[in-house]
Symmetry: C2
Subunit: 459 residues, 2 copies
């Protein structure tokens, strides 16, 4: 056993103790599939995640069946994995989790897909077996395929009706342009209508490969039992655990165009509020400034004491929701400031938001803000780890997306090294990038005329 | 110490052990304020809730300042409690929680208001002190009042823009008619614009009385320290803990009109999906059938294996979201079936939903469904209790709203006594009540012509 606070996830068999005293174990099967667990002794339940390293961005690189659309096929496939295997019908899968009161769902993202469940300790083995069967031997029955198309079209319609979701999708499209990360995860009604079972099946066979699967679990977990259950279920589903297949270069990383001028995109909708996002290209996942970005976000828009909340909601009462955010991927990221407000206040809110970003870039942050941000991030991280969901997710992301595991103390040590200058430098970098403003609501594009042109961001 | 599984919350000082082995303590201060805690030994954080027994339904009975609107004043007051006391500014309150990474928010409901926080163990005393100060000595500063009016109007606009929220508010109005529970919690833009500081201050003084306050906490909690912290903070804020004030009859319970014919309410909106609710008056909180209702909901629309999910989503692909629900208050409740789908499918979905309710009323449920529902409810209840939020909430609700505490084993014992006949009888009762159908989306009322007239609910 190695007692470590930070660890490259490089060895097939690893055991290490976190600063919180929990034990993490990692096993890599001969076929490349990774299994990680974090035992939480006081827990009487567990969360399991089956992570597959394929997301909507990977749809572009596919050589799909003639004429079929690939956009949205990752999410379509995720739905179909609940629809049955040779030994379990869709109803069997639903009953397996419902009858024990388990939570059971899946998430398709731009760079991964995750199937997860939270169950009591006595149901962990069942949950492992069912999830493994779904991942390895789903049938993609043609009738189920057609019915599920209707369900997915409803899901897209629901997302489209939510202005907060719509503005987010428009913003990514506007900031990332031709980059494959720009596209909405679920596809569009057109691509879903054009999607064929053959295309989704091809996507499944090509991308659900053992070496791209990470299984992570936290809570009342016995690692050896987990490995045994996963192995037995995958072999029963027809996977050969002994042979590693040839690596496939699936994802092409793409540079993001960051030399455009300020760009405005407005979608008119006859609704009460305008949903507004201002921002641009951010930082990639392994950018060494990721913790600087966390501190920046905490100070700028991370809580009720943050600058945006204080200036826009507390001092002026202009919005109910106002925040900043940053999201990162393999090769790029997106950062921004967001708010929702009535149409008449939109320009003022946009100007104030930009002014706060520029102020941060020009004058930096105070030591009091630095210390508050450190307290906020360390407290929130500690609170999150009370929860087996958060620990399962931390493990899965570390191995699938980052390649390195940091426990709480290691994260805090790195956080403490972030300086006020680091934050100001990052703010300068971000504020100097081409900015995009995206809005959905009852306004016209011309309300943003001259936006950002005066140095203070106020006109 | 009494080892008990179910307990009337009637004694000023009580200690009892739950079936999960945790210890619950209850203290009633001489002024009537109740303090309950559940210690979870393995936890290093805690959730605190300050519950006040006043909600939006109580606004009707008020004798407000001349000409001022009372509707929405409970929620308005909740916002103002974050705005400062004689010893803490709004920013101080925000910083207190942000600087330790705590979660900190409040919820206004129809029969209560709850202020809560989740913090690490070392921050429990701070959180208790700040929440007690907010409850007992908020200033309702006139300038803060005016600014917050703008924030609340934005919050109402956000809710109005969400069709899923809007249909819910319309449904309550349609089912409950003139009952004070029918009104939306936040009021309307008109009532918020008409609301005065004097009216909200009067509401605060009248209703935030020690005997209507329950403080509940779960996690890393020491009961004696909690009682000491609460007492010290409330005395510092000027509350007299030694004297019990005269009881005030605040809430008038009202019978619900259940003899109307089937009623249809449609709000046209040019959006993709129609949000649909079908149901009627349900059961009150202390109705002995509350666990029968839980079983009924589990079978009818509580999970992926439920009848509604199987019939409407799995077999026909007509909707992404479909479910049933029941919500209960002191004197009545509301039950219903909900879905969202594209306009062309709306009538079919509505007919299918009603057919499932009628089928349940006519043919009852199978033993397999009963056993699955029992498994689902017991598993989900056990999972929820891993979480200090859920335990805090269970304690607060038990004391403020129900007057009796049931631990997991006691709940399961009562659940096991529910029979298939109980479920069918309740379904018959519900199906025989006047039904209301409410929809928000791009349809006209006439698509529901003849709805529910044929005995099968299909035309």
């Amino acid at each position: 056993m190695t007692s470590a606070t930070e660890f490259p996830l490089s060895q097939p068999e690893m055991t290490f103790e976190t600063s919180a005293g929990s034990l993490i174990r990692r096993t890599v099967l001969p076929n490349g599939l990774r299994i990680l667990s974090e035992a939480m002794p006081a827990s009487s339940s567990a969360t399991l995640g089956f992570w597959v390293g394929v997301g909507s961005r990977d749809e572009l690189a596919q050589d799909l069946s003639a004429g079929a659309s690939g956009f949205g096929s990752t999410h379509f496939l995720e739905h179909l994995l609940f629809k049955g295997t040779p030994t379990r019908s869709a109803l069997d899968i639903a009953i397996a989790f419902d009858s024990v009161g388990g939570e059971h769902n899946a998430l398709t993202a731009k760079e991964y897909t995750c199937y997860y469940a939270r169950v009591r300790d006595e149901d962990v083995s069942m949950a492992t077996t069912v999830l493994a069967d779904m991942i390895a031997s789903s049938e993609l029955d043609p009738e189920e395929f057609e019915r599920e198309r209707g369900v997915i079209l409803e899901e897209l319609a629901m997302r489209e009706d939510d202005p907060g979701t719509a503005v987010w999708e428009r913003f990514f499209e506007a900031v990332l342009g031709e980059h494959p990360l720009a596209r909405a995860i679920g596809g569009t009604p057109d691509t879903i209508n054009a999607c064929t079972r053959e295309a989704v099946l091809e996507h499944y066979r090509r991308n659900y490969r053992p070496e791209d699967v990470v299984i992570s679990a936290a809570g009342a977990i016995d690692h050896d039992s987990l490995v045994a259950d996963v192995s037995a279920a995958l072999e029963a589903a027809g996977w050969d655990l002994s042979v590693r297949s040839e690596p496939v270069a699936r994802r092409s990383l793409v540079a993001v165009e960051t030399t455009r001028a300020t760009d405005v995109f407005v979608e008119y909708r006859p609704i009460e509020q305008v949903h507004l996002l201002i921002g641009g290209a951010g930082i990639a996942m392994r950018d060494e400034r990721w913790l600087v970005m966390s501190v920046l976000n905490s100070i700028l828009g991370g809580g009720m004491s943050s600058r945006l909340f204080q200036e826009i909601r507390e001092k002026r009462g202009l919005a109910y929701s106002v925040y900043s955010f940053s999201t990162s991927y393999s090769d790029t990221g997106v950062f921004g400031l967001g708010a929702a407000c009535t149409p008449a206040k939109t320009r003022e809110v946009a100007d104030l938001m930009l002014a706060e970003l520029r102020l941060l870039a020009e004058d930096g942050v105070t030591e009091e803000e630095m210390s508050r941000a450190l307290g906020q991030l360390s407290g929130a991280s500690a609170l999150a780890l009370e929860d087996s969901d958060a620990r399962m997710s931390r493990l899965g992301r570390a191995d699938l997306l980052v390649g390195e595991f940091l426990d709480l103390d290691a994260t805090l040590a790195r956080l403490s090294a972030v300086t006020a200058e680091d934050v100001r430098d990052l703010a300068r970098d971000l504020a100097a990038r081409p900015l995009t403003i995206t809005a959905v609501g009852a306004i016209e594009e011309n309300i943003f005329a001259g936006f950002g042109e005066s140095p203070e961001g106020k006109n």
